[in-house]
């Protein structure tokens, strides 16, 4: 048996899929398998998720016993790791801030962090402000996408 630390990516993905399909399978049971004519809303979900559970268990066993990708190999080291984290975190930051600040400010903040990975801070600031305004013009003004804005209208 492996220790918790030696568990790999395959194990976690298998568990993730197992949980997803398990929840859907469980919900599908209560959904009506067959109606008067033909399958009900639970018919295909039950079959598909049932099969998925079996396959996920197989994958889980394989990654526990045979081979798995160790977590240490999943993420790159050093700067690359920070780059990945920033690229994943920046859009989440955008999503959190936009309801309060409107598009332009949220986009500036997000872009600033992203540009900062490759440029000096003053350049990053300039680029993020410029790009935010250009994108706002294209999407909001030209393409009329109703992007969320603040009280000032941007």
């Amino acid at each position: 048996m492996k220790t918790l630390k030696s568990l790999g990516l395959g194990f976690f993905l298998a568990v993730f899929i197992l949980v997803c399909s398990g929840i859907m399978f469980w919900q599908a049971i209560s959904m009506g398998y067959y109606s008067e004519y033909g399958p009900g809303p639970g018919f295909l979900p039950l079959w598909v998720n049932g099969l998925l559970i079996i396959l996920a268990v197989m994958y889980l066993i394989i990654s526990l016993i045979k081979s798995d990708i160790p977590l240490s190999k999943v993420f790159p080291k050093g700067e690359g790791f920070i780059n990945v984290l920033v690229s994943m975190g920046a859009p989440i930051l955008f999503l959190i801030s936009i309801p309060y600040t409107g598009f332009v400010v949220a986009s500036m903040i997000t872009l600033f962090f992203l540009f900062l990975r490759g440029f000096k801070w003053y350049w990053s600031l300039g680029y993020s402000v410029g790009l935010s305004i250009i994108l706002f013009m294209i999407f909001s003004t030209l393409l009329r996408v109703p992007v969320p804005v603040n009280v000032l209208g941007w």
Partner: protein
Amino acid sequence: MKKKFMSILLVLLSVILIAGCAQGGSNTTEKTTGNKEAKGVDWPTKPIKFIVPFAPGGGTDLAARTLQPYLEKELGVSVVIENKTGGGGWVGWGDLATSQPDGYTLGYLVFPNIFTGYLNPTANRQETFDSFEYLMSHHVDSGLLVVRGDESRFSTIEEFIDYAKKNDIAGSSGGVGSSPHFAGVQINDQLGTNIRFVHGNGGAEAIAQLLGGHIDVGFLDYSSSRDLIKTGELKVIAVLGSDRFSKLPDVPAINEVFDTDIQKLLSRGIAAPKGVDPAILEKLNGALEKAMNNPEHIEKLAELGVEVHGLQGKEYIDFLKEQEASMIELKEVFGW
């Protein structure tokens, strides 16, 4: 190098051109901004958002876009249509119900589809009938009972009902609780027929299935089936509801033939979220009434095969309440 420059120039030029077009479009609407004498409230002062909960190009969208320019003219500000699709229309309607009741967000409603959203318990929605201020009914589409032109088993509504009582037949539907399904369920309920519903994605798909012989009867609106009716590919055997349809004066209305109380296919209207200032509502209603009675607008609607309905206020609410009641009666049939 020169080539590259040229191509960039080309792209830029076209973008500017398009931008110009877009600008031109909005300018014309702004220009009509009359010198509106402010009566009581200072409204409207900025563009109004008009939520259409179905995709661009569909029947609902087309009808809304027919009204839009005339409403803009009356209100003096631009009315921006926002297609917010999903959830059988409820993504848009839910959004309308929860938006700020300041008169700057309006929405386009479709009945009876809207009832299914809150009557269906699995939808688990907070909104109810009272989440909206019902402004004005735009139009009613009676809906037609349509079979294939070369159908040999039945050629009149009487023969059809007779056949459907003895045999299982397949009918069109846009999903549970959609207007065609509701119409069919009423027929099953009141006339004892055995129509099964092949739930699809609405009008166009139903027509294809009908022509291909995969279903036996369609509950369709006139605008989508008009041409095929003219060529005889499709045959209308009855109009839903109690009145005949002006474009097809020879086709009987179903309630005229049988002693039934079957509703018309659908109606569409304009609403605001609950709680709008009554003074604004009054202005809005006035503008809507004028816009709808614009002769050009009436003519454009006629092309879609419908007429302005125009109910307002309490009359409109009573009309809707009546429809809601007949849907609630059939709750069990829908499995709610």
